[in-house]
Amino acid sequence: MFTSKMAAECQRVDRSSHSMDKSITLPADEIFRNLENAKRFAIDIGGSLTKLAYYSTVQHKVAKVRSFDHTAKETEGEPLYEISMQEEVTARLHFIKFENAYIETCLDFIKDHLVNTETKVIKATGGGAHKFKDLIEKKLKLRVDKEDEMTCLIKGCNFVLRNIPHEAFVYVKHADSEFRFQNTHPDIFPYLLINIGSGVSIVKVESEDKFERVGGSSIGGGTFWGLGALLTKTKRFDELLQLASKGQHTSVDMLVKDIYGGSYGSLGLTGDLIASSFGKSATADNEFSKEDMAKSLLHMISNDIGQLACLYARLHNLTRVYFGGFFIRGHPVTMHTITYSINFFTKGEVQALFLRHEGYLGTIGAFLKGAEEDTPPMLPHSLGTTALSHPRFDPNQYSWGENYAGSSGLMSVSPDLNPMQRTRSGTFPFDMLEMDRLERQLVNLPLLQDPSSYIPDTVDLSEDALAREYWLYCFEEALDGVVKRAVASQPDLPEAAERAEKFRHKYRHKLQTLRQQPFAYGSLTVRSLLDTREHCLNEFNFPDPYSKIKQRENDIALKYFQKAIKSLEELSWEQRQFALVRGLLAGNVFDWGAKAVSDVLESDPEFGFEQAKRQLEERPWLVDAYDQWLERLKGPPHKCALFFVDNSGIDIILGVFPFIRELLCRGTEVVLASNSSPALNDVTNSELQILTQRIAAMDLVIQSAVKEDRLTLVQSGSSSPCLDLSRLDKELAGVVRERHTDLVVIEGMGRAIHTNYYAMLSCESLKMAVIKNSWLADRLGGKLFSVVFKYEVPPSHKTTTQDHVPGTPS
């Protein structure tokens, strides 16, 4: 198991605010977090940047629910379950990037803060590894163990491609959003990696362990730097790029039009094409500006690399081509020229892909290498005695997720910024990536029609400036309420207020960063804003601010359950079907995530189920496929329905349960998928288990369904109010397959509108939500409390059904 319960009294090792007698002080709260629990290190020292990796354990407060003993007669007013705060230990990977100039300062800091590491070795890679070997060994008392650079690079690349959604992007210079993040293809192989260091290596990667350097070129970053320094007398790489970004290459290069007077029409070569790089400097006697020469050099090298990349991509029949190395390192100007070149040479058939965490690949790989070596090979004799083996850490056995709270995001440090200026201002420039080990291995929902083109999010806020503006404002506005609720959720902890303020500061800072750099964590979406908030809340030990509210709501709703079922049973079949849908939608109005609702709920706790029904829009709804659904219900029952549930309380108990009860009565098996960990007031898997037990105790249909395994509860693997169908618990995927699931129901704004609104499934699907945000309602052409009821049957599905009818006259 990934978590081990820790005694509640287990204390965090106090981090002394150690002040350093150095000219540069490290912001100890931000950099090298959890160093006291660091277990294993790896380091990648490049020409100018050092990247350090370590693995640590993080203690988190988690909210646990536990059912009271209800064998005794239920007493009035006693809550259904108890909530307790417990400590859990989770695994986290930390990656830090800083300039080589700070390496000694950083090593000292690590030495002073390292408490209980068991490791004796530090894995090292990169060209500078041997240069700093002695220093590292002396300072850290760890043996430096060198690893092959390319092996580390590829390992790291595979790791980020597999574990970080939106890792890869296409760079488009003049677009509204310069970064177009790519959906991670479920199968990341094969691909071509063009690593542009001082030279260029072209590596074909076919599987986790199979890769080959298929080619390379000596004209790379070192050529740009070396030749550039000779030509312009500019010493630094970044300064050279800055010069280049201000230059005009046309004064130095001989263009097609310089030779032809225009274009070379018969070959389709336009006049602006470079015929001969630096061709004009051979014949013209005039002086050339540094900027122009730097620009010409940049074009020359980028084009050359792009051309070679294309030739290799064609030879090996590959279309996924990733670029990395210090020549790229997030520099817009080099990404642009490479992109341009690839586009030119492949006529748009191949896109240049860049990686958000490209700079970390080497250190991630070195780290993984160390972890693998530590994992003992399976001994044939140990068959059946797995309990004997020490719990080891193999990162490839788990899914990992980027922790938005602890990661700096793309371009947190502008590559164009002069490091000298940064030093003078007294700050220590660094960039961080933190990845949390997820409890479960995440996979695609097997029912996605085309996993490679599935995009969870409905609106990409990085491309939609108006929507971005609105949602950033919206989340900023809601912050006060979130802080208030977080404090209220921990009445027994006096320092909660202080922690909540830290949370506020952190999340506000994230929002501000995202305003400036919407691309920081991949495509900006409502989902990513929500997830970032959850990560920040967890960071400050507010694992479940809604726990008490959920508890109260669940209690109230349970009391009405039997009454609700009874009134439904009095209705005719057709009336009942409509009442069930209406009840489900009304239940969904109870959502503390939406401000419009939480305002009403907060001021008027009596706001009831009936009132919610009255708030609902009358038919025809904004999106209304109810008639088709009703027709479908008149047909044969579904084999198995997978239901992604949303909120606690009225939603789950009075909305979802009656609905699935009807499905069960029709002979349909039901799988309820709920969040693995808390998010807003969404019902979690552990809460749902208790609720299901309680309902089963009152209702024979549910009881027998549970007993006969026709009603199953599974974890979604998610802890988000939204839903990414490409990252779901592996077990869920197994259940879906085993049971031949033929209906997927997705409920609520977060899961059915912010995400998955356009998701195409290979079976029937129902997407239901009430729009509880007036801006969004407006966007979709409706109004507040408009209803979306989307019933979809995949086109292929229809034809296959017809195909099964033999002899049908056409």
Binding site: G47, G127, D148, M150, T151, G197, S198, G199, S201, R213, G215, S217, S218, I219, G220, G221, G222, T223, W225, G226, L227, A229, L230, L231, K235, F237, V252, D253, M254, V256, D258, I259, Y260, G261, G262, Y264, S266, L267, I274, A275, S276, S277, F278, G279, K280, S281, A282, T283, F288, M293, M300, N303, D304, Q307, L308, L311, Y312, R314, L315, F345
Partner: protein, 369 residues
């Protein structure tokens, strides 16, 4: 049986850096003809054939002259002349001064300059150019020169023992059955063609890193002014002081990837260091520039050959003139990286095929044209 073609016979290829001119000097002029020959035609012939240099920058490559050549029913010598494209206006002015337009000949021109300078020819010298496609001319000219042979010797050669650039030997050979071939034309820039027959070819790709880049960057880095100067410096330099080799990074071979320690890992990579920049010689810089450009062309040509499934790679263009460093290096690169699969071939008249092709167009019968 031949359509009479008025003298003078010229073919011209106006490139980005150099103008290549071929001139057919008839040696079978009868006394009658001699008498009828107008004075300015005579003076052009005398001027071109009695000099080896024209003005400050024009040069006749005497060693390339094709003697006793039979063309279009006439016998004579084909002369090969070049001058910088920068001198084009002076050349046109000369044509005007010599009243060239009165000779009623067609001036066949190819290369980008045929388009760029067309209007200048018209307005300055009252001359109409017959503009011809440069790749057509290149291929036709190449096949023609190869077919007539270089004064009895083969036009084509390769390097015996290419893997040892110190001791590889230039060896003449025949280009019989030349198709398919990958034709790599290295002028200011580089064009790469896959040629399947005389009239069936395609331009595979090109690169802007060509002869112009070598000379341009050499001029900027060393202050030299001519190709000859740059090559001379390069011949005396050592590129390993400038380039970072695999062994500079890995201490030896990079065995994981089968890279030899002596392979260049990063062209100009040593120049990232200020100390090394301050102490580097012009000769070393020139050599590194030459090696960098040559290897890059070799690398792209090789990839194209593999992608197009062509084993014969023919290198032409004026970048290879008096440039054995590059020819040997290209021969080595083709051989080494393809494990002997690819063969590099070179031609004696390097950069003149376009001009020859243009001349051939002039001599075509009207029906043919």
């Amino acid at each position: 049986s031949f359509i009479y073609c008025t003298f003078p016979w010229f073919g011209m290829d106006i490139g980005g850096t150099l103008v290549k001119l071929v001139y057919f000097e008839p040696k079978d002029i009868t006394a009658e003809e001699e008498q009828e020959e107008v004075e300015n035609l005579k003076s052009i012939r005398r001027y071109l054939t009695s000099n080896v240099a024209y003005g400050k920058t024009g040069v006749r490559d005497v060693h390339l002259e094709l003697r006793n050549l039979s063309m279009c029913g006439r016998t004579g010598n084909l002369h090969f002349i070049r001058f910088p494209t920068q001198a084009m206006h002076r050349f046109i002015q000369m044509g005007s001064d010599k009243n060239f337009s009165s000779l009623h000949t067609t001036l066949c021109a190819t290369g980008g300059g045929a388009y760029k300078f067309e209007n200048d020819f018209r307005t300055m010298a009252d001359l109409e150019l017959l503009k011809l496609d440069e790749l057509d001319c290149l291929i036709h000219g190449l096949l023609y020169v190869d077919s007539v042979s270089f004064n009895g010797q083969p036009e084509c050669y390769f390097f015996e023992n290419p893997s040892d650039t110190q001791n590889s030997v230039k060896t003449p050979c025949s280009l019989a059955d030349p198709f398919p071939m990958l034709l790599v034309n290295i002028g200011s820039g580089v064009s790469i063609l896959a040629v399947y027959s005389k009239d069936h070819y395609k331009r595979v790709t090109g690169t802007s890193l060509g002869g112009g880049t070598f000379l341009g960057l050499c001029c900027l880095l060393t202050g030299c002014e001519t190709f000859e100067e740059a090559l001379d410096m390069a011949s005396r330099g050592d590129s390993s002081n400038v380039d970072k080799l695999v062994k500079d990074i890995y201490g030896g071979d990079y065995e994981r990837f089968g890279l030899q320690g002596s392979a260049v890992a990063s062209s100009f990579g040593h120049m990232m260091s200020k100390e090394k920049r301050d102490s580097i010689s012009k000769e070393d810089l020139a050599r590194a520039m030459l090696v960098t450009i040559t290897n890059n062309i070799g690398s792209i040509a090789r990839m194209c050959a593999v992608n197009e499934k062509i084993e014969r790679v023919v290198f032409v263009g004026n970048f290879l003139r008096i440039n054995t460093v590059s020819t040997k290096l290209l021969a080595y690169a083709m051989d080494f990286w393809s494990k002997g699969q690819l063969k590099a071939l070179f031609l004696e008249h390097e950069g003149y095929f376009g001009a020859v092709g243009a001349l051939l167009e002039l001599l075509k019968s009207p029906e043919e044209a």
